[in-house]
């Protein structure tokens, strides 16, 4: 039996109406959509950047007697840059920031990875404990600074607790000792942001293809083999993204050292952000500060150029996966949705 063509339910385009783009082509719609955003960028980024560059060539400061439009009176070409590059405290602050970044991100990564591995297999209370470990991340930085300020006091709970544990009086000057101040600030950052690493790495671990892990087990691989040959190599892209993103954020650190010791004692915990803050806000050396800021910007951009590639690659590959239908693409996925049960 054959159906006749007339019986087919052919969907006709609405007659007499062409697709209405509101009179605009796709390109102009796109431009319209991004226009407000670009305006914002112009206002908040471009103009200040130009101004900063301009100021960097001067020795102007708000206290120098004329307003900014006459800053050119203090034009001194690259003197400001030269001074910054020669300034020991500038490089010292930069160096401290590098140390801070490396150690903090490293510790966050290690602890986060350990936690993620521990949470991989189901155990009673895992859901609640996961939420619990997320809490530090949600704490306002001002608060976490304050909290550790309390804890690091000479007569505060940390020393008291250590005294109890070790049986003698511990009076470490966490905040007052110049050698310790930077490390104390690191503790704050580590405490606050380890949960992020934990989350990222856990998401990655849970998404590892279960069949491959099972196959490895059947072929005789023990836990160490699985870790070394399967888990670690397959986690590499995610690990890279996590490290880079955290490094970018940590480099800018300001809140923790400022809240604990205002960058002190002396210079001990002055990261580059605090250094710039001091020069500009406290010492009012706007011209000089701008020059230094620009140098930092350049350095960061160069480093950033290397950083973006893996992130973009990560975006594209997850996009590919979505298009292939490989991964569940619900807006949010329960971190444990794909974890298998233990055999």
């Amino acid at each position: 039996m054959e159906k006749s063509v007339d019986e087919h339910n052919v969907r006709q385009a609405p007659k007499g109406r062409l697709p209405n783009f509101g009179g605009r082509s796709e390109k102009s719609v796109a431009a319209l959509l991004t226009a407000p955003g670009q305006l914002v960028m112009l206002f908040i980024v471009l103009f200040p950047a130009v101004l900063a560059i301009y100021l960097g060539f001067t020795a102007w400061s708000p206290t120098s007697g004329s307003d900014v439009w006459h800053a050119y009176e203090y034009w001194h070409w690259f003197d400001g840059y030269w001074e910054a590059l020669n300034d020991g405290s500038f490089w010292a602050a930069l160096w401290r920031t590098v140390i801070f970044t490396v150690v903090a991100v490293g510790m966050e990564f290690l602890i986060g990875f350990v936690l993620a591995m521990l949470f991989l297999k189901q155990f009673p209370g895992r859901g609640v404990l996961t939420l619990f470990f997320l809490l530090p991340m949600m704490v306002v930085p001002a608060v976490s600074g304050f909290v550790f300020y309390m804890i690091f006091q000479v007569d505060g709970p940390l020393n008291q607790g250590l005294s109890l544990l070790l049986g003698r009086d511990i009076t470490i000057l966490w905040l007052e000792n110049p050698s310790l101040a930077l490390w104390s600030a690191m503790v704050v950052d580590i405490w606050q942001w380890t949960p992020l690493m934990f989350l990222i790495l856990l998401s990655g671990l849970v998404a590892l293809p279960e069949d491959q892990m099972n196959q490895a087990r059947i072929l005789g691989a023990n836990s160490w083999h699985q870790f070394r040959y399967l888990i670690l190599p397959m986690m590499k892209p995610i690990i890279l993204i996590a490290l880079i993103i955290r490094a970018i954020e940590v480099f800018k650190v300001f809140d923790a050292p400022y809240l604990l010791t205002q960058g002190g004692p002396g210079d001990a915990s002055t990261t580059i952000s605090i250094w710039m803050y001091r020069e500009v806000i406290v010492n009012s050396r706007w011209g000089f500060g701008s020059a230094a800021a620009l140098i930092v910007l350049i350095l960061v951009t160069i480093a950033g150029a290397f950083a973006v590639r893996p992130i973009e690659a990560g975006q594209e590959s997850t996009l590919e996966e979505l298009e292939r239908g490989d991964t569940p693409s619900a807006g949010g996925v329960d971190p444990f949705a794909k974890a298998g049960t233990e055999a």
């Binding site: 196959q215 490895a216 087990r217």
Partner: protein
């Protein structure tokens, strides 16, 4: 090479689902056995229990009479090929194949690993691709890598979970023949899970048909085709599905209860179409639809309100709307009790 004995194997999942129910089976050493059944019948779960990925709720598994139920997967020396191959995508072909050797204790020297990888690659035709990243292979080649990876560790038994369902039809037929050939050559015990009865029939020495966690019948393809033990097996096996018609037993000779409600089963291949009212035509029907399949026709009939399929010869094709008579081959008629679904001796 080992004989597998599944003894009263049961698997119940938390939540109540009984995936495998008191399953009893002996798979002879060196044989090719298919676990056949529809989705959800428990065949994959059974397979997972044999490999050690799942622990049975009760029952024992023996390899060559040794109980291995408590052994972890790595210690059982089984080979497992997953449905989607589970190739290690970040490793090369050679690294994939050699994985089992690299993680074994003691680890063989590198030269020996290379040699054995080379041997396997030759057998499977993967020589030229050893250094290529495994994810960049065609689906067919990935299949071979999956096989080679399991073969290299000399497993006692080989488990395959619908490994060919992702291949294109032509390659699938080829791989079926290849696999059967390899299995025969090395006399490897293989257990093959599939829902495709054509695949099972064409490859396996014996087939275990499963439904709802229970073993329905265990036998050779011929036995399953000609002497199905129950209605499920009868309906599941055979490319064009068997016809089922309600029947009532009126002959009292065999001692089976008179008037018992039965179902008659007859395969479409065993029904002959004749002119209506001709001698031997037990039933009459009307032709509804004809599927011309080239070498044969499948003719759909309406027989007193029931749909009946008949395989016909193209040369003698009726027309739609014709009234015809049906002759059932008496030797091929099967009877099933309506209450138990079991086959009844005719």
């Amino acid at each position: 090479m080992a004989e597998i004995h599944l003894s009263h194997l049961t698997k119940q999942f938390p939540g109540g689902l009984v995936a495998v129910n008191d399953f009893e089976l002996v798979i002879p050493d060196g044989s090719f056995v298919a676990l056949l059944g529809p989705s959800g019948c428990g065949k994959s779960t059974t397979m997972n229990m044999i490999s050690g990925l799942e622990k049975p709720t009760s029952g024992e598994i023996y390899f060559d009479k040794q109980p291995i139920t408590k052994l972890p997967p790595g210690a059982r020396t089984v080979g497992f090929v997953f449905q989607n191959y589970a190739i290690f995508t970040h490793m090369s072909v050679a690294e994939n194949i050699s994985f089992g050797l690299r993680v074994s204790k003691p680890r063989p020297p590198a030269a020996e690993i290379d040699r054995r990888v080379g041997d396997i690659a030759d057998v499977l035709g993967l020589r030229g691709m050893l250094d290529r990243n495994a994810s960049r292979l065609s689906v067919n080649d990935m299949q071979k890598v999956a096989l080679g990876r399991s073969m290299i560790v000399d497993p006692a038994i080989f488990l395959l979970d619908e490994p060919f369902s992702n291949l294109d039809a032509a390659f699938r037929a080829y791989m079926r023949a290849e696999l059967k050939r390899i299995q025969h050559e090395i006399e490897q015990t293989m257990v093959y899970v599939t829902h495709d009865q054509v695949e099972a029939m064409s490859m396996a020495d014996h087939i275990a048909v499963m439904d709802a966690g229970r073993l329905q019948q265990y036998g050779t393809p011929d036995e399953l085709y000609n002497a199905p033990a129950n209605r499920f097996v009868a309906g599941f096996v055979g490319s064009t599905q068997m016809n089922f018609l309600p029947a009532t037993l009126t002959l009292g000779e065999q001692g089976a209860g008179n008037g018992r409600s039965l179902t008659l089963g007859i395969r479409p291949e065993n029904v002959l179409l004749v002119a209506p009212g001709a001698a031997g035509a037990t039933l009459a029907g009307k032709v509804n639809l004809i599927e011309p399949l080239g070498a044969k026709d499948v003719i759909h009939l309406d027989v007193a309100g029931h749909g009946v399929r008949v395989v016909g010869v193209p040369g003698q094709r009726p027309r739609v709307g014709d009234n015809v008579g049906l002759v059932f081959d008496p030797d091929r008629q099967l009877l099933f009790d309506d209450e138990t679904d079991l086959a009844v001796e005719a």
